[in-house]
């Protein structure tokens, strides 16, 4: 049995920091240091402070990194700055992990508890007094965006759902809903399945748990590793070598690279799932490039502000959703140009980071308010809640536009 956190502890000395030429490009890309001096920036906290870490961190400003990954993405020299910082933070927090950080990583539990009591749960989360008590006791900020519980889960829908009668001409694919897509953003999951079925796929959605991303970003590597490996088994049970499609932008990234790069998970089943994982827009664009995507879209004259989530961008595939949405006649996309919406998974929920997360998101909220014609678009659940709360504009997954353009809604 390896010692807990053996990998990140060892990685601290073996990281890519020697490739850093101190060019400061990461500093210019960081959305957190831009709004608060509490975080001195990715270069200082990463490749520079790393040289002074001998088992423990010399200062704790590292905790203010939101792990959005904008620094790694921007680095022209291949330094994995965000990964380095996530590892160092896990080691730093090992002996004093706040209860709050353990709780907010339990996304499946939250969904399971809230779904049967959806109206009550929603009312409680909308109640100022309840939220104040939660802030004081647990440390989740009273104004932080919270999901809306649904009375039905995605799996509940899927069981009763009848696929179209037309022949399944394209064979099977596995659908990965993610826990938010399973419990809260149920409609996005349903629309994704319906689009895939419309294209002629047989959609298999095995029972599935959480990818562990929220635990990983809170430094709970052991718990996150268990979660992600269990999920790999569940997704593999859908069928050997099948493409796995996800409408949860961030969770797809956890399976593609974060579990391996940050936590050092090196099991065959993770690599197997990771190489088969396609984010839905990425999947549709691949079809389009191969000439296999029907584009008999219904016209939709609308301009939509679009924000690519940080953890989608960090998959290094560009922004496929823009190209896909603009295949629909009449759709014009305005890209936010912002690194992050601020929420960064669970970062913006925390009472001591809430104001920072709001400040990070503010230019995005302003842009959405100014440019929207009724909706905004974003690929990841928590980011949509953050944008919706910050801007007051209904924010949907790109698949909603594709679903509508195929005449399915």
């Amino acid at each position: 049995m390896p010692e807990p956190l053996e990998y990140p502890k060892a990685m601290l000395t073996r990281a890519t920091l020697d490739a850093c030429i101190k060019c400061t490009i990461c500093e210019t890309a960081c959305p957190v240091s831009a709004v608060t001096p509490l975080f001195p920036g990715p270069k200082f906290v990463g490749p520079q402070a790393e040289r002074f870490r001998d088992g423990e961190s010399v200062d704790h400003s590292l905790d203010y990194c939101s792990s959005c990954g904008a620094c790694t993405l921007a680095c022209p020299q291949g330094v994995q700055i965000a990964e380095l910082n996530s590892q160092a933070r896990a080691v730093m927090k090992e002996d004093n992990m706040p209860l709050r950080d353990k709780l907010i990583g339990q996304t499946v539990l939250m969904g399971k508890v809230m779904t049967p009591f959806a109206p009550i749960a929603n009312a409680a989360l909308g109640n100022k007094l309840v939220r104040t008590v939660v802030e004081k006791t647990v440390g989740v900020h009273r104004d932080a965006p919270m999901p809306t519980a649904r009375l039905h889960t995605f799996q509940g829908w899927m069981k009763k759902h009848q696929p179209p009668a037309s022949p399944r001409t394209r064979g099977p694919v596995v659908f990965f809903s993610g826990c938010a897509g399973g419990y809260f953003e149920v409609e996005t999951s349903i629309k994704t399945v319906e689009v895939l079925e419309h294209l002629g796929y047989e959609v298999i959605a095995p029972k599935q748990g959480c990818c562990g991303l929220a635990q990983q970003s809170n430094g709970l590597f052991d718990e996150a590793t268990k979660s992600v490996l269990k999920l790999c088994d569940q997704l593999r049970s859908g069928g050997k070598d099948l493409t796995i499609v996800s409408a949860s932008g961030s969770c797809a990234g956890m399976l593609k690279h974060e579990a391996h790069e940050i936590m050092g998970v090196d099991e065959e089943k993770l690599h197997d799932v990771g190489t088969r994982m396609r984010e839905i827009s990425e999947f549709l664009l691949e079809l389009h490039a191969a000439g296999d995507l029907p584009t008999d879209f219904v016209r939709n004259d609308i301009t939509v502000p679009y924000h690519a989530p940080c953890q989608l961008k960090s998959q290094g595939m560009g922004m496929p959703a823009i190209t896909v949405m603009e295949l629909i006649p009449g759709v014009k996309v305005i890209e936010s140009g912002r690194a992050c919406c601020g929420i960064a998974g669970t970062y913006g929920l925390k009472k001591e980071k809430y104001d920072i997360a709001q400040a990070v998101g503010q230019p995005l909220f302003d842009m959405v308010k100014e440019k929207n014609e009724g909706i905004a678009v974003c690929d990841t659940e928590t980011c949509r809640w953050q944008i919706e709360k910050g801007s007051g504009v209904k924010t949907v997954h790109p698949i909603w536009l594709v679903h509508k353009a195929y005449g399915l809604s």
Binding site: T24, G78, G274, Q315, G316, M317, M319
Partner: protein, 427 residues
């Protein structure tokens, strides 16, 4: 232009961005792949065509380009003509109107952050008042919380420099005590630039500036005069009522960031598909042509297929060329043949030219890569920018001229080849 013509551009520096935009404007489907943000924001934010040959070039930089190319057969300017440089610069200027001053008829001589006088063809509008002429009175103003700009150093060095036509600038140094953000004692230029985007902060800044500036003085400031708000400079100048200029600092260079942000925005708005954060692993070649590039996206590699490729990864400093511990140089991505000067690549004298920087690929006027025998390596591969052999760009101050000329030439060669093909099909 047939819309199914696809180009893949590698690199997001000046050469990559400009060639991608030019191809896209012609109607081509363009994907730009880059491992990170390009190097524009590590530079001065000026357009340097040719500054030292090795003597300082003051008049007619384009004439100097022709003369330098004639005298140095291995230099990019031996293949790229003065007309190519002009075309490149004019294309950029049309993309970014109201950004630069200068007419390519002369070089400006502007103080750097250590007070050296540096020649450049096109300074940004915000820098133009820094031109050094005899008898000019300048005050350099630093900020106590910004350690990258020391006004005494700039003022002292500028004052002791005799100007090319004779005479000197009279200088003075002054300081402001004005944090960019509350409780921050050590800010980078970037935080000041972001603060300057706020009109209320600008007002406080100008109020503080008024107390240290004297009538008749031209005010030299660190390059922090606004990042997103392109009206910041004009506002500060108008409020102060005296000529102001900014001097780029060590990275992050805010004037460089403004150029990078503007070009990146133009590329994205034109729907160049920018794939940021992934490295090109190799090219897939068939019959002398590149069919696709394999890119190391997360999860598994992705193939980016195309009919045309522009390779602009930068030079040695960008990782576009590698040097191993046996002093062997290589081009690590596509394995292109390199031109390597004879003799030691690195010399001990810090003031001497380092031959290592002139290592690069040889090319023809269509920006196709040539091997040692002078034959085309891949018919549909074009190169631009820092990867080109023969220049010591940092020393010659020639990097932007080479990048712009080669980027526009590469794009135009591609567009010409498509037109020729279509012409042949129609005939």
């Amino acid at each position: 232009m047939s819309m199914d013509s696809r180009a893949v551009v590698v690199g997001a520096g000046m050469a990559g961005l400009v060639s991608a935009i030019r191809l896209r404007q012609a109607g081509m489907d363009v994907t730009l792949v880059t491992q990170g943000i390009g190097g524009i924001q590590l530079g001065q934010g000026t357009i340097d065509v040719l500054g030292y040959v090795p003597e300082r070039v003051l008049g007619q930089p384009l004439a100097a380009v022709t003369a330098y190319g004639n005298a140095h057969p291995h230099h990019p300017y031996a293949i790229l003509s003065a007309d190519d440089v002009r075309a490149g610069v004019e294309f950029l200027r049309a993309l970014l109107p109201d950004t630069f001053v200068g007419d390519l008829e002369r070089n400006y001589l502007l103080p750097t952050a250590i007070g050296a006088l540096r020649p450049t063809a096109l300074p940004q509008v915000t820098m133009a008042e820094g031109e050094c002429t005899p008898g000019k009175q300048m005050v350099f103003v630093g900020l106590r919380q910004l350690k990258d700009f020391w006004p005494e150093l700039v003022a002292g060095n500028v004052a002791r420099t005799e100007l090319p036509g004779g005479g000197r600038v009279s200088t003075r140094a002054a300081w402001l005590d004005l944090p960019a953000r509350a409780n921050e004692v050590d800010s980078t230029p970037l935080y000041y630039a972001r603060a300057m985007d706020d009109p209320a902060y600008r007002k406080r800044f100008v109020d503080a500036l008024r107390r240290v500036v004297e009538p008749g003085e031209t005010v030299g400031l660190p390059g922090v005069l606004g990042l997103a708000d392109r009206g910041a400079f004009a506002d500060i100048t108008a409020q102060l009522g005296q000529p102001v200029f900014e001097i780029s600092t060590i990275p992050p260079s805010v004037p460089g960031m403004r150029l990078n942000d503007a070009l990146t925005r133009l590329a994205k708005d034109a729907r160049v598909k920018v794939v940021l954060g992934s490295q090109v692993l190799c090219a897939n070649i068939d019959g002398g042509r590149i069919r696709s590039l394999t890119v190391g996206t997360t999860g598994r590699p992705t193939e980016y297929a195309g009919e045309h490729f522009v390779f602009a990864p930068g030079g040695f400093e960008s990782g576009g060329i590698e040097l191993d511990s046996y002093m062997k140089v290589s081009e690590p991505t596509l394995g292109l043949p390199l031109w390597v000067p004879e003799g030691d690549l690195v010399v001990a004298d810090h003031n001497a030219a380092q031959p290592l920087f002139s290592v690069g690929v040889r090319f023809d006027h269509d920006m196709r890569v040539l091997d040692t025998a002078g034959d085309t390596v891949h018919e549909n591969l074009h190169v631009a920018g820092g990867i080109l052999a023969g220049a010591s760009r940092w020393q010659e101050k020639s990097g932007d001229g080479i990048a712009l000329a080669s980027a526009v030439r590469a794009a135009d060669a591609i567009l010409e080849s498509v037109q020729n093909l279509e012409g042949a099909r129609n005939a």
